[in-house]
Structure formats: structure tokens, C-alpha cells
Symmetry: C2
Subunit: 524 residues, 2 copies
């Protein structure tokens, strides 16, 4: 903690513009304070999911709102603008890649933050914390109506924020919110990528629906929760997740919270009636956690260089470990050996790798996004993207959301939604006031597929390693090509540096097509 940003920061620049490096040091000190406040907010959020008693909800919403306001205050302070200008005028400073990246990223953040009125920021945080509380209650009794006013309030606040931020040239209001999660991405570009993906996915899913699905009865083998938790802990540790610098708890919704340096917290949800019920969820969250632990936070807390490149890149790390590793044949081989050692039942002893691998990759359209397979998952995301875009344009009201949702589920996935809990109440995002987040799930899949192709080229022995439970090669490559850079490069730059090209729908389609046709034993 507290390491100086760079050796040259004590240097004084001359001629008429003194103290630029002091300006940079000041900039980093401010970023660090905002980072400390943000990290405190992350802890509040973790606690809300894992520990907070029910009656603590009102207090929590006020604490969260106050912290948001304090972070916003620091990100919009007038002398922060002065410090930025002084840094930008310092040619020597701006010639250094790391410093320049920090300054540019803080500049973008500042220019956006000053457009948001402080009361709106505070009210958005407060409304979000309260709406989550009411969303939970509404889910409990499966009643969309009681949640509708809270949702509409969040939509209205998001519309206000989008209006205040303004659309980019040639863009739309939605873009202003998408920018929070995927810097530089535009709704039109998401549309293009999703359209191309959809054009390949729909026939693939159709073909699989006609074919005989592999058996999944073995998934219902019982295994006590404690033994599952010990296995999950072992897998996370083996992936490289440092449990002395993190936790793995139980919560209703699996999550990863990167509180700050030395403190990254995962949760999982267990079911003793499902042999691997929590494993892939844990690998997903551990994938997020590895990214958090791989960022240079201890030295650079609060700096853009210590923050993830984008929500999409964050998701790519989770999906890469969950699906590309965790649902791959080599991993299944290692995992089955471990299971047979740990469970010690004849049922598990009788399993073979092929059955496990095929069972883990069954494609079956269903109402719940987080329970869906690698292929149809993306159709869920596209639905949400279109609906939240309509909410933000004002073309759809919160009161009409459930109807639109259910209709689209029928059209896209052939699924009839019978309860709100299995429909529009299933996700927490809009309750939290998070709009423009959903597309990053599929963007994450696209990044993951593209990174996976690069990994395959870079590590010829990867499959053999994974089959032995050796994950260090994959992690080291991700550390070097993604984690270590933080926000140094924009998502398109990072994508190009790590994978050699721009983001495309092709690697994911190639991967799904090859894998799923083989799993279903279809001719390709």
C-alpha cells in the first residue's frame, strides 16, 4: 500500500507551468481516495447480500447513497479539472504510456461525471438500494405489480442520467449508459454483433432441438453440501484464486465482489440434490475473482490502471473459466477423477468422461437466464438488451414489461413463462438501477471465445494440462494479456492486442457449432 506512483513524480517541470508532476501526484491521491470510498461501497454491497439483517435495508440504502455522493463529489471537484489540465499540458508526462493512460481515462470519467447533477447520483443510489429490497419482496410472493413503481422510478432516473450525459455523435441515449459498462461500445454495434450471432445461433439451436439429447440423469446424484463446498474451494484454489486474500461464502445469488487489494469475495449457492450444482457457478465467480486479484490494486488503488477494462472483459474471464474450461472435455476428465476420489459412491465410479462432458453441454431452452446453456444464454441476453432499450426510449413502460417479456420468450425460445419469478423478476440488474449492463454478458462470451482461440494458439499443450488439473498456463496467459493492463487500453485496443483482431461473432459461433454438433453427434 501507499507506493509512490512512479519515480519521476518528484520532478518539477519548468517554464510557466510549474508543478505538473505534483499535479499528477495530486491526481493519483484523489483517485486513491475515491477508490477507498468505492471499495467501502463494495463491502456494503457484499454485506447486503451475505450478512445484513432484513431490518437494516433502510440504513444501507442511505449509506450507499452517501458513499456514491462522496465518490461523485471527488470525481467532479473543480480542482480535479485543474489537475487534469495541468497533466495534459505536461508533454513529458503524457509521453509515458502508463501515466498518459491514467490521465486520459480520468479525463473521460471527469468529463462524464460533471454532467451528472449530484442529487441525481445520490437519488439513483438510494432508489436502487430500496428497489432491490422491494424486488426481493416481490419475488418472494411472485408479484410483478408491487415492483412496477420501483422499476419505473429506476427507469426514469436512468433516462434522466442518459439525458444529462447526452448521446455520442450519431448515437442514442442508451449509449450514454452502455458507456458505463463497455467504454466506446455503441448500441448500434451491439445490434450488429448480436444480429450476426443470432443468425448463426437460431439454426444451430433448431438443429439440436431435433436431435437426441445426451442423458443428464447423473446430475441428480446427491452429494452433501459440505463436501461440495470443499470441492469447490479446492477447484477455486487450483484455478489460482488466493483464499487468504478472499472468501467463498453462501448467498442466494452467486456473486463476486472485489472489495479491494487483498479482499475479493465470492459466493455460491448449493443444492445437495445436484452433484455439480454449484461448481460451474463457483468457477464463474472465481473467474471474476482471478481478474480482480490480477489487477495491480495494491500499488494503484483507485487508478484506471488498476480497474477492469470493461464489464464485458470482466464477464469474459468468468465465462472462460466456467464454460470454455469448465465445460470442456479436458477439464471433465480431471474433474471426474477428483469426483470419484471424493464421492466414493458406485454411481459416481460408474460415470465415464464422455457422459459427463456431453451431459454438461446439453442445450435446452428454459425460462431462466442463469440456468441456461451456452447457446441459448445469448438469446436471453438479446431479449433483455432490446427490452431495456425500449424502456429507456420510453417505448415500453414498466407496467407493460412482463407482457412484452413473456411474448418475446415464446417467440425467441419457445418457452412459456408461467410466473413473474421465472420471467421479468428473475434478474437483479434493473432493480439495482443498472441499465446498459445486460449486453456485456454476450459481449463477454464473444471476448471469451476470441481469447480462447488465442490461448489455443499460444499454449499448444493446453488440453493436456487441463486434463491433469494444471490451470497455471491459462491463468498466466490471462494475467499477462488481460489482467495486468487494467484499463490501460480501451476494450477494442485490448481485444486487438490480446487476440490480434477486432471483436467478432465468429469465434463464438465457431466454438459453439463445433462443440455442440460433436456433443449431439450431428454431422457438421
Amino acid at each position: 500500500m501507499g507506493t509512490r506512483p512512479r519515480p519521476s513524480s518528484s520532478r518539477r517541470a519548468g517554464a510557466g507551468a510549474p508543478g505538473e508532476s505534483e499535479a499528477y501526484a495530486g491526481l493519483l491521491a484523489r483517485a486513491r481516495e475515491a477508490g477507498l470510498l468505492a471499495s467501502t461501497g463494495f463491502l456494503l454491497a457484499w454485506d447486503q447480500e451475505v450478512a445484513m439483517p432484513p431490518a437494516g435495508a433502510a440504513l444501507r440504502s442511505e449509506q450507499a447513497a452517501l458513499l456514491s455522493a462522496l465518490v461523485h463529489e471527488r470525481r467532479t471537484a473543480p480542482d480535479l479539472g485543474d489537475a487534469l489540465a495541468a497533466c495534459e499540458a505536461d508533454a513529458e508526462l503524457m509521453a509515458e504510456g502508463a501515466a498518459a493512460a491514467n490521465v486520459r481515462s480520468l479525463r473521460r470519467e471527469y468529463d462524464r461525471a460533471v454532467l451528472l447533477p449530484a442529487p441525481l447520483v445520490r437519488e439513483t443510489a438510494r432508489a436502487g438500494a430500496l428497489a432491490v429490497h422491494h424486488w426481493r419482496a416481490a419475488r418472494e410472493v411472485d408479484d410483478m405489480t408491487s415492483f412496477t413503481p420501483w422499476l419505473q422510478r429506476n427507469v426514469n432516473l436512468a433516462r434522466e442520467a442518459a439525458a444529462a450525459l447526452g448521446a455520442p455523435p450519431g448515437g442514442e441515449p442508451y449509449d450514454a449508459l452502455l458507456e458505463n459498462h463497455e467504454p466506446g461500445m455503441r448500441a448500434a454495434e451491439v445490434d450488429r454483433l448480436f444480429g450476426a450471432l443470432r443468425a448463426g445461433l437460431v439454426p444451430l439451436v433448431g438443429a439440436l432441438r431435433e436431435a437426441a439429447a445426451p442423458g443428464t440423469e447423473w446430475m441428480g446424484i446427491r452429494w452433501p453440501v459440505e463436501a461440495q463446498a470443499a470441492f469447490n474451494r479446492a477447484v477455486a484454489g487450483r484455478m489460482g484464486f488466493d483464499l487468504d486474500a478472499g472468501r467463498l461464502d453462501v448467498s442466494t445469488h452467486p456473486l463476486c465482489v472485489g472489495v479491494g487489494p487483498g479482499d475479493t469475495r465470492l459466493t455460491a449457492r448449493y443444492d445437495p440434490a445436484r452433484l455439480l450444482g454449484a461448481l460451474h457457478g463457483t468457477m464463474h465467480e472465481a473467474g471474476h475473482g482471478l481478474y480482480e486479484q490480477g489487477l495491480p490494486k495494491a500499488e494503484r488503488l483507485g487508478q484506471p490502471l488498476a480497474r477492469p477494462a470493461s464489464t464485458g472483459f470482466h464477464e469474459s474471464q468468468a465465462r472462460l473459466w466456467e464454460n470454455f474450461v469448465g465445460r470442456g472435455r479436458p477439464f471433465c476428465a480431471w474433474m471426474l477423477g477428483e469426483l470419484q476420489r471424493r464421492v466414493g459412491s458406485p454411481e459416481v465410479a460408474a460415470l465415464d468422461v464422455d457422459a459427463v462432458y456431453r451431459g454438461l453441454n446439453v442445450v435446452r431452452p428454459g425460462p431462466i437466464r442463469v440456468e441456461s446453456d451456452e447457446a441459448t444464454y445469448n438469446l436471453h441476453v438479446m431479449l433483455r438488451f432490446d427490452l431495456e432499450r425500449a424502456l429507456l426510449r420510453g417505448d415500453l413502460s414498466a407496467a407493460d414489461l412482463a407482457g412484452a417479456w413473456n411474448e418475446r420468450m415464446r417467440a425467441d425460445l419457445g418457452v412459456t413463462v408461467s410466473t413473474a419469478r421465472e420471467g421479468a423478476l428473475q434478474d437483479i440488474h434493473w432493480a439495482m438501477g443498472s441499465f446498459g449492463y445486460f449486453p456485456t454478458y454476450t459481449l463477454g462470451n464473444l471476448y471469451a471465445a476470441q481469447l480462447w482461440e488465442s490461448l489455443g494458439r499460444a499454449l499448444p499443450g493446453m488440453d493436456a494440462d487441463l486434463a491433469r488439473g494444471e490451470f497455471g498456463g491459462v491463468l498466466n496467459w490471462l494475467r499477462a494479456h488481460v489482467h495486468a493492463h487494467g484499463r490501460r487500453y480501451s476494450p477494442p485496443e485490448l481485444c486487438a492486442r490480446a487476440t490480434g483482431g477486432p471483436l467478432s461473432h465468429e469465434p463464438l459461433l465457431r466454438y459453439l457449432d463445433t462443440k455442440l454438433r460433436a456433443v449431439y453427434r450431428l454431422d457438421t
Copy 2:
């Protein structure tokens, strides 16, 4: 949440001093914001004990320091001084008891806070969080030496703070720190009370040492931790602790953290080899918790009226439930019935109330404060009071502390301390940078004894109620006479209102003398 402070707050006062009630509303808004920040700090502290991974310590110390600095900033803002002056000039406002009490208490706080330099406040919080980390490590390996520099740094910072605050007229530097915990109390008065108590305690403990002690073998009956935890939870609930607005967890050191309205958290430490190993610790923390839940925090968050009267009064609530209720004969009668129902073993079935009651009240000098009995506990506290006074005067250095401690243990309690862990490393307080806190433990016992006598007069049927496990009468009396008032009255005023007189050593001596002579079957 967010209730307006009082109906008249929109009133405007006339003639040359406009807006006093606005000033009062502003005062309360500031207090609320400081309260929200403080409540966030309380959550960080709870998390540090219960959940934080080891590698998170450095981040936590910075978060804690920043929050302390932000609270201090709010408590010393120049326009807070203006608002206070405007309120004080408003005769109508100051004629209202509740408002006047808030204003006077915030004035005292402000006048003290502005004397403390902000860097000292921040450094004290940071040093405390780090020292706790090193204290824990030193305890682990039982090595006082490695903790000495951290302790000396805390002592030096406390001396700086005492010097900045200044001693009260006729007082000493220690008083400036004691004021943080027991407003209005002075070291000289503590000396007087402790001296009188000691004069009665020492011969009593001597007489008991000569007598045959009741048997305690039954305490070693084994009971699984889960069953103990369920029982403790039931007892806390029966005492009136609202578990929907709180938690009961496991931690190395039992604690109570009143995070804020709707969120009060207790912990306990279990041992399956001790039948009641965690019960009295839980009753102690639940006593603290009932005080926290009884303060009008939801309406008055951050106001003095929603804060405990003093650390001594807080402790009195814990000790009253732990000892006066929990180690009393009526409670033992109810508890034994419950135990016999829950444990269902022949050993427990064979126990009789008299044996349980007498066993729970054995007096046995030992090295550890938190494990000591009701009588010798106070000798532990007196030792710490004298040693921390010497540390703060500069008459004792951290390097010489362990020697002085061990010598005094031999002289006062006839106990030979064989390890640092059982000696000067046993308590967390000095590691946290908390000086002037220890005397409040015995002050708490004195308040508790005095409240207990009043309770006995006010509730003639109390013993019969307690024997039936009916604790509502005791709680309601404490709610009305202590909890509801918050900091409205000074500790001496509150003591006089609740008990009819000033704090005295006599009720505690009377109680201990009567009870222990009966337990030991000595002639009185």
C-alpha cells in the same frame, strides 16, 4: 428514516437573528451525515472481526482512517460552529428539552473536535487498525516484544491527543481521553470510587479464598456447538433482542456492534467441552445489543439523543444481563429447566438449581479478565486503569509494561502470569488505540448494581418473572429509564434520574457481599 426532527422546525425566528430553526435542521442534517459515515465505520469494524480475509488488513486500515477523517471533517466544519451558535441564540429552541440536549451535546463534541488536528485523527485510526493486526500476530506467537513498538506508537498518539484536548480545570491529561467514554468523569473520581470498592472487595475475596468453593465439575459437560448456539439464540430472543434487526455470529472475541438502525450484530465464542461456555458471553453482548436496539436511531440517526449515554452505561446494560440476571438464582432455575429439556442427558437431568447457581458464582482469581468472576473482575480493571494512566503520564514505557503488569497481578490477585497472551497481550483495547476505556468496565458494574437495586424496588415480582423466563419487565424498565433517553442527560443526571442518587460503590459491594457470602455459605 428521514423523519423531520420536530414539527416546529419550519418556524422562523424574528428580529435580527433569522433562521435559527433552519440552523437546527441543518445541525441535525450534518449530524445525520456524520452518523451515516460512523455507521459505515462500525460495519467495517464488524467485518474486520468476523469476515475480512487476512490479506485485507492494509486496505481496511486505510478505509477506517479515511472514514474517521471524514467524520472528523464533518464534526469540525466551520459552518457547523455557526449553526451551533445560531441554535444557542434561539431561546425558544433552547427551551425545548430534547433540542437543547442535542445542541449542548453537539457543542461539547464540536469544541473538543476542533482541538484535534485532522492528520492526528487520521493517523490514530490508521495506526490503530494496523496495531490490531500486529497485536493479533504477536498474540499468536505469544511475543510481547514484537507488539511493543506498535503499542508505544499508539501511546504517543494518545498523549498527543490528550495534549491537544487539554486537561479540564484541576484535572490531568488522562481526563481528556476518559471524556471520550464517560463524559464528565474524572480520573480522580474514578480513583475515589475504585479505592472505596477495593477496600471492601479485598477482604471479601480473602474471606472467600479461605472457604470451601462450590463444585464446578458439571460445567465440563459436553454439548455440541450447534445446540449451544440454538439455545443462546433462544435466550437472546427471549431477552428481547430482535434477530430480524440483528445477527448472532461466531468470532474469536465476543462483541456487539450497533451498526445503525435495524442492524445490531452480536458474536459469541463456543466450546463443545463447556456446557454453558458461550451463554453468559452472549447474554453480555445481547445486553449491549438491547441498549443499541432501544436507542431511537431510526428517527434520530447521528443525534446525541440516539447515542448511548456513556461507555459505562453501555457496559452496565451488558453486565446487568450477564451477571445480575444471568448469574442470579431465579434465572438459573428457568435455565436449568430449559437445559434439561434441550440436552436430554442423565448428567444434566441430575443437576439441581442450587449446584448450578453456586457453580456459576465461584470466585477464583485468574490471569484473564474476561474469564474472571464478578468480584475479582474489578481488580483486573483497576490494574489496567493504573497502568494506562502511567503510560499516558510517561511514567511507564510500552517496553516496561509486561513487567509492571505481571508484578501487579501477583500483588493484587496472587496470580503468576506465565505468558504474554495471559498477561499484557490479552486485551485488544490498547492495540485499537483506546485509552481511558478500561475504567468504564467497573463503572458499568457500579451502574448495574445501582440500577439493579432500583429494579428490585420497581418490580416486586421480578424474581418470580425471571424464574419463569419472563424478561419483559426488566427490559421495559431499562428501555424507559435508560435506553430511550440516549444522551439526553449526562451520566450523573441519568444515574440520578434512574436510581435516585449519585454513582456509589455501595450497591455493588452490598450485592457482591450478600450474594457471595450466601453462595459460599459464610456467616454474614
